[in-house]
Subunit: 511 residues, 2 copies
């Protein structure tokens, strides 16, 4: 690209206060003088990314950043002088593109990271180029987000008229839902008064609830002391009887329960709490019912799988991601709130420079800023809207079903291998297992499986992740990958068995 | 594009549990069967966006969404069947592209919204296509964000070794900074204990502080009662004497001051508090000093303008945006924290499925997730890194200087028009003014200028915004636009004068 910029070398300072208003003297700008040159570079960039996506299966899933690349990325001084877009794109191609986390690869089963989609990438380009500020207001992008939220509410079994907001992801969506619950159920004006001097509020979750809840409790000023963790049953579901006892105990102790967090698809094992029972408890106790469905909620879109997350639709608020099981590029999550007025009342504010007028660009007000903590928001909605329309919801749900069947298939492959042990029920799309070797105690198995995991990851053949279930190290495959085929699971199993055999042999050799 | 998908019509369910692991049967995927077709569509999309950016000056700044488009965007049912990417792109071109907020236009002076840049759009495409999850870990994108943060810290006068995080924008960056301050200065373990039962914490800000501070105080559980608003002087700067009296009063009343928020560039008038004085107060009182520099902080990059925001570099934490005066596409803000250990300690958590290993993809841990509330984060850093390198920091600061000179120029144009009145000092890049007409009282002038504002906006010629200063409605031009030329300010002034004359004449006609 040609980086010569308009008027460079003609610093306008000396003339700025003159009354010459002809505009003949050109100012500086970030726009290129040579639009065609930058456009050509853009087309090259697009081709490189398509090549990368189309050929991802032939690449290693992951590789460590080499020392030379690391040194180069760490060592560059502040770039005061421009290097030009061409040169910087070359840096990207050499230093960045080859060393991602790997989640675009068909054999990435690590953590719950979406794969991304080519159409999602294109939609993000359009959104960034259009660059609307999504606080609300009279602009088509606002209508796109509102339409998208209506669709998502319907797909989650929420009533027409429910409210919602697209967010950066599950942590933010869950935080917003919890905050609406606090506003609605604290029993005092928490926005005005804050928590100092009030009765201690309590939120209930299970030992398998994602770590967002602790961070949210801290941020909201509830503290860890404002959170009570309930045990789980053998299928990793929140124990409803223990919850009820805890609520009664806390009330008796003068604390103020305000919210129960249920999970649709725990991150460790894919378990789903008995959401209908939790909804009933919340109803009878007058508590807010929030459901974290970060990935699991997408199962609700499938008529076949809906039964596994039933009760989701009874929540007062539900959080889920489109960039996990929905496969869209980061970032896009969503919170839905049943009662739109409560959602708005929990967050809305006004500022004098944002005075709402009924005409002009600000007509309609800050509908989205009034539903969360961000005033400036990007056009995340576009990739959701375009992808739902282009692919159709049917493809989303069939791909969810496909991953669930693949999880069953992987479970069956594991069951067929004598050296492998399934470590938790395959409740949805998470499979936890390990390599077992005679003569090793639990500590030895933990050591062995840790090494197995690392060797498989480092081989670049497949990237599963890990977790610890009741003190036992488990290799964990989270299936939210639209590129995976059954052959990929067979390759994973083979890689784990081979690595297990090798590591076991090494461990058996007396030191 | 060809939307026929691999294996469509061959639902794999019936075969999923068989032991056939040859992979011959193709599963569904979001990838296109016809990669070349989607690639061609992508190139068309890119051309449309380049055409749009290159030709933006010839378009109206803003126009209301027409009823027909609105009805179409509001009326579509959940798209269960896929419509294909081609058709959806046509919808985008017809229904969305022509009706944005207008902030990409050279005569958009409304609120503080960045213009966006073509290179920023391309970088967002690359980021979305690569799609790394930016919690941290061993991947090149992590190194890109760390390098970017080091550059930004140096550019803001923060010490080497300072910490930071890219955020969705200023509200989030400010919230994070305030939360670190609460953690550091509460005087008790706020993460563990929460705020119930503790002394009431107090954060101090000015009447001109942006509305984020109220929302943050509410979210953090401090409540509005945990926030004390200090008055401003004639130049709209926080009154330091009043602050000191307030702190003493609050301490005497048993409250616990913990943080002072200073502003570099207020949203209403562009004023900057006496940050050196505020830093001194915080030092002597043992308080956290947070600076909101959402747009104003960028002035620190300019040797010439640095003096106007001096003291910024003394903050314990500072928040600013790259998508405002840095012109990059939404979303990207930043918080810097002087003490990296405190930053991490305020947020860090671990989860069993994210156990840190010193090899494999998770090596290095969740460096970014441990600095904020989001676990999943997108690759916002890429557009900052590429833009700083490609354009050079020098161009960023020259464009900041250019907007400041344009603000002075606009002020001079207003001064030269008898019918216009400047309503606040032009401290940086915000110009507040109004049309004055003999025979109208303040209420009449407010009514007149509201109508003038709306007519100018609706004309599509220019989009200034408005604010209310001491009860008087002001037309407000916020200059963060890299496309604006001096001629554009002359057009703005002419449009306001013409509309003012017309509205005044209408108002003078007896009803």
């Amino acid at each position: 690209m040609d980086e010569r910029l308009q008027g460079q070398g003609e610093h306008p300072s000396d003339a700025m206060c003159e009354t010459d208003i002809t505009g003949n003297e050109q100012e500086l700008t970030f726009d290129p003088e040579d639009w065609d040159g930058l456009r050509r570079l853009g087309h090259r960039m697009l081709d490189v990314m398509f090549d990368s996506m189309e050929g991802v299966r032939e690449q290693p899933v992951w590789r460590s950043v080499p020392a030379g690349v690391r040194a180069s990325l760490e060592g560059e001084a502040v770039p005061y002088a421009g290097q030009g877009a061409e040169a910087v794109f070359e840096d990207f191609v050499e230093q960045v593109l080859p060393y991602p986390m790997g989640n675009a690869h068909p054999r990435y089963f690590g953590w719950v990271k979406g794969t991304g989609t080519p159409l999602g990438m294109l939609a993000d380009m359009l959104a960034s180029g259009l660059n609307p500020q999504m606080a609300g207001f009279d602009q088509a992008p606002r209508l796109v987000e509102e339409q998208t939220l209506r669709w998502l509410a319907e797909l989650m079994g929420f009533p027409a008229g429910a409210s919602g907001l697209l967010t950066s992801g599950g942590s933010m969506a869950n935080l917003l839902g919890l905050n609406v619950g606090r506003f609605a159920k604290a029993g005092f004006d928490v926005r005005a008064e804050g928590l100092a001097g009030a009765a201690r509020l309590r939120v209930y979750c299970s030992a398998e609830t994602h770590s967002w809840v602790g961070k949210a409790a801290e941020l909201l000023g509830l503290g860890r002391a404002g959170m009570r963790v309930i045990g789980v049953d053998a299928e990793y579901r929140l124990r409803v009887d223990e919850l009820q006892r805890a609520i009664a105990e806390d009330r008796a102790a003068g604390l103020r329960p305000f919210c129960v967090v249920g999970t649709a698809g725990t991150v460790n094992t894919g378990a789903t709490d008995d959401l209908e029972a939790l909804a009933a408890v919340c109803r009878s106790e007058g508590l807010w019912f929030h459901v974290d469905g970060a990935f699991g909620a997408l199962a609700y879109w499938s008529e076949e799988l809906r039964v596994r997350v039933r009760g989701l639709e009874l929540a007062d608020s539900v959080a889920f991601d489109l960039h996990k099981w929905g496969s869209l590029p980061f970032e896009v999550g969503c919170v839905l709130v049943r009662d739109a007025a409560v959602h708005r009342a929990a967050f809305a504010s006004t500022a004098s420079y944002l005075a709402v007028l009924d005409r002009g660009p600000v007509a309609g007000g800050m509908v989205f800023a009034d539903r969360g903590i961000e005033l400036t928001r990007g056009f995340k909605a576009l990739k959701v809207w375009m992808s739902l329309k282009a692919h159709g919801v049917d493809l989303f749900r069939r791909l969810v079903e496909q991953n669930v069947r693949q999880a069953e298939y992987l479970g069956a492959l594991i069951g067929a291998e004598e050296a492998l042990e399934l470590m938790a029920p395959v409740a949805l799309n998470v499979v936890c297992f390990r390599y077992v070797a005679a003569g090793l105690d639990e500590a030895g198995l933990n050591e062995l499986n840790t090494e197995v995991l690392l060797r498989v990851q480092e081989s670049g053949v497949a990237v599963p992740s890990s977790t610890v279930l009741q003190g036992r190290f488990a290799i964990r495959a989270a299936l939210v990958n639209h590129r995976s085929r059954r052959e990929d699971y067979a390759i994973l199993v083979r890689a784990v068995v081979d690595a297990g055999r090798a590591v076991a042999a090494e461990m058996m050799v007396p030191a």
